[in-house]
Symmetry: C2
Subunit: 354 residues, 2 copies
DNA sequence: ATGAAAGCGCTAACAG
DNA sequence: CTGTTAGCGCTTTCAT
C-alpha cells in the first residue's frame, strides 16, 4: 500500500537550517552563526554573501535550538488570573508592553480556580520551557501563596510577584491599596461626611483587606464598627445588595467607600431605586477608575490605580533580576515596590457648597 | 577584589537530565524516556524504580529538547490587540481556556499600532519558536490584512483569524456583527420608533462597518441617510459627542443604535445633560453587553456577543487544523464560522405601554 | 577571519 | 521488554 503519496507530494516545507545556508554560501556553519549573531569577526564580503543566501532561502534561526544550548529562551512566564476584570487585563497589557520593549516573549498561563494547587504544574511547565523569569500576576487570595514557603527554594528562575503582601526575600510589586483606602475615606471626612460605610471586596483577597485597613486608618477607630461594613464580591450586583444591607444596619450613614468601581455602579443604581440622592444624601468613592467611571450618574469619585504601570514595573524588576542572575550574582536583593494610587474627585463625593 | 563569592556559593542548580536519571536507575536513557512518555513497553518494576529516581532527583523533562526533535512545541501563538477593551480581553480569556483544555501553552504577542507592519517580525518569531498554530486575534482595521495575500503561502503553520471578513482559503471565526446590527435596529422599529440614528465604531474596523450594514439592512434604505450617522471611536466620550451631533443634524430622531456599550454610556450621559428622557424621548440599543450595561441608568438594551466562546471556538478550529496537518493531510479545508449574537432587551429601548 | 569537533537534552529507529 | 546509534539546529570551545 502506497500511502501519503500523490497530492501530499506538495511542498511540505522543510525548515531551512543553518547547514543549508552554510553549504550554499560555501562557508562553515560557524561563519553563518557569526553572521546572524552580528559577531565582528566576519569579512564584509563573506557576510554579504551569507546574508544574501539567508535571504534567498528564507532562513530563520531556530530559537528552540538556541534555547537548548544556552539554557534560556528570551521568554517570560506570566501567570495570570481574572482576565475578564479591568485590573488584571490592564496589568497584562503593561506586562506585555514592557516585555516587548525589553525583547522578551511571553508564555501565558491563566489560572481559573485561585485556590487550586496547579501551581506546581504550571511552574514545572514554564521551567521545562526554559523561561528566563516569571511574573506571578495572580492576586493573593486565600492562602494561595502557601506554596511559596515550600516551593521557592527549588525554583531556579527569578520571580516577581504582583499585588501581594510584601515578604522578605521576595520581589513584590503592588499598589498601595491601604493608602488608597485611607485617601478615599479621608476625602469623605474632609467633605464633612460623618458616618462612612464600607463595601469591601472579597476579604480573602489581600488587596481587599488592605483597602479596608485604609478605611480604618482614616476613621482612627480601634474598634471595628462591624455594622458599617459589608463584604462584596467585586460585582455591581453585590454593590447593590451591599448598600441595602448597610442602610438597614445603619440608617444614618451618609457616605460609603466602595472598594471598586463596578460595585459602586451597583450602589448608584440601588440608591436611585431607593430615592437616595448622590451626593446630597449619600456620598460615594470607588476604587480603580475605569474608563466608564467618569460617565456614571453622577460621575464617580474614585481612587485611580495605574495597573499598566504595575505590569511594566514588574517586568522591569524581573529584567534586572534576570540580568543579575545570568551574570552569576546568584542572590539578588529582593525588594518590594509600592505604587501610589491617586484620588480622582468627581461629583459623587462633593457636597454642594451652600 | 573578590566578587560574587561568599554567599553566592549557593547551589546554582544545574538542570537534571534524563541521563542522570538513567544512570541512577541503572537503565538506558531510552527506558527513562519510555517511562516519562507512558509507553507501554516497560516492566512495572523498572517503571517503579525509574519513577522513584525521577522523583528523588526532581527531574523535569525539557520541552525545549523535545520540540527540537519533534518539530513542534505544544504551543499556540496568539497575536492580540487592544487588551484594555472588553471584547479582546474576553476573547483572550476564551482562547486560554480552550488551549488549556486541549493541552496547549500560549505564546502571547500584542500589537500596538494596528497598521504597522511588524507582522512579519511577529510571525517569524513565533515560527522560530515552533508554534503549532497561530490565533490571529487582531481586529481587521484599515488594510492590516494586506500581508495575507503575499505572506500566507510561506507560512507553514495553520492560522485561524478572528473577527475578520471571511476569505476563501482562510479559517475565520467571527461574530455575525451585521446580523447583530440588524437585530438591534429591528427591535427599535418593533417598539414603534421611527427615526433611528446610528453611532458607529471607527469605520476602518471591519466589525464597525458590519454593524452599520446591519442597521442599513433593517432600515431597508437604499440611500444611506448620512445625517443619521455619526462615526465614533468606541469611547464613551465619542458617544457623548455623537449624540449631540446627531440631534443637531436630525432633531426628530427618536432612537439610536450605538455600536458599543461604552459609547452608549456616553450617550446616556449626554441625554441626561440635555434633558432628554430615555427611553421616552429617545430609545437606545448598544452592542457588547458588558457586565456594567445592566446597571446603567436606565439599564441598557444591547446585543450580546459571547467573546469567550469566540476565543474557544477559534482554538478548537485551530486544534483540528493542527491535528490534520500533523497527520499529513497538508491541505485542510478552511471554513468560516459565524457566531450568532443575541439581543438583550432592557429598559433603554422599551416604550412604556400607555 | 574561518573551520572542526563536541554536545545541549531528548527521541526515533532499529536492533537484540 | 531493553539498549544502541543517530541526530534535531544550533553554539561553544579550540584550532588554524
Amino acid at each position: 500500500m502506497i500511502s501519503g503519496l500523490g497530492l501530499s507530494s506538495m511542498t511540505v516545507k522543510k525548515r531551512v537550517t543553518i547547514r543549508q545556508v552554510a553549504k550554499e554560501s560555501e562557508v562553515s556553519t560557524q561563519t553563518v552563526s557569526r553572521v546572524i549573531n552580528h559577531h565582528p569577526n566576519v569579512a564584509p564580503e563573506t557576510r554579504r554573501r551569507v546574508l544574501q543566501v539567508i535571504d534567498r532561502l528564507g532562513y530563520q534561526p531556530s530559537s528552540i535550538a538556541r534555547s537548548l544550548i544556552q539554557g534560556y529562551s528570551g521568554t517570560l512566564g506570566v501567570v495570570g488570573y481574572g482576565l475578564e476584570y479591568f485590573g488584571p487585563s490592564r496589568t497584562l497589557s503593561g506586562v506585555e508592553q514592557q516585555a516587548n520593549e525589553l525583547g522578551y516573549s511571553l508564555l501565558l498561563s491563566l489560572m481559573r480556580q485561585p485556590e487550586k494547587n496547579d501551581v506546581e504544574q504550571v511552574l514545572r511547565d514554564m521551567f521545562s520551557r526554559y523561561v528566563d523569569g516569571i511574573i506571578w500576576a495572580m492576586p493573593e487570595i486565600g492562602n494561595n501563596r502557601a506554596w511559596i514557603r515550600q516551593g521557592t527554594p527549588q525554583l531556579s528562575v527569578p520571580i516577581v510577584f504582583l499585588s501581594m503582601q510584601p515578604h522578605p526575600n521576595l520581589s513584590v510589586v503592588a499598589v498601595d491599596n491601604r493608602r488608597g483606602g485611607r485617601m478615599a475615606t479621608e476625602h469623605l471626612l474632609d467633605q464633612g461626611y460623618q458616618t462612612i460605610g464600607l463595601i469591601t471586596g472579597p476579604l480573602d483577597w489581600w488587596e481587599a483587606r488592605q483597602r479596608q485597613l485604609g478605611w480604618q486608618d482614616a476613621l482612627k477607630e480601634v474598634i471595628t464598627e462591624d455594622h458599617l461594613v459589608v463584604e462584596g464580591d467585586w460585582t455591581a450586583e453585590s454593590g447593590e445588595r451591599g448598600l441595602r444591607q448597610l442602610l438597614e444596619q445603619c440608617p444614618d450613614m451618609d457616605a460609603v467607600f466602595v472598594c471598586n468601581d463596578q460595585m459602586a455602579l451597583g450602589v448608584l443604581q440601588a440608591a436611585r431605586q431607593m430615592g437616595i440622592r448622590v451626593p446630597e444624601d449619600l456620598a460615594l468613592v470607588g476604587f480603580d477608575d475605569t474608563p466608564e467611571s467618569a460617565y456614571f450618574y453622577p460621575p464617580l469619585s474614585t481612587v485611580r490605580q495605574d495597573m499598566v504601570e504595575l505590569g511594566r514595573c514588574a517586568v522591569r524588576e524581573l529584567g534586572c533580576m534576570i540580568e543579575a542572575s545570568q551574570q552569576g550574582r546568584a542572590v539578588v536583593e529582593s525588594k518590594a515596590i509600592l505604587l501610589q494610587p491617586q484620588l480622582v474627585i468627581r461629583e459623587s463625593s462633593v457636597r454642594e457648597r451652600g
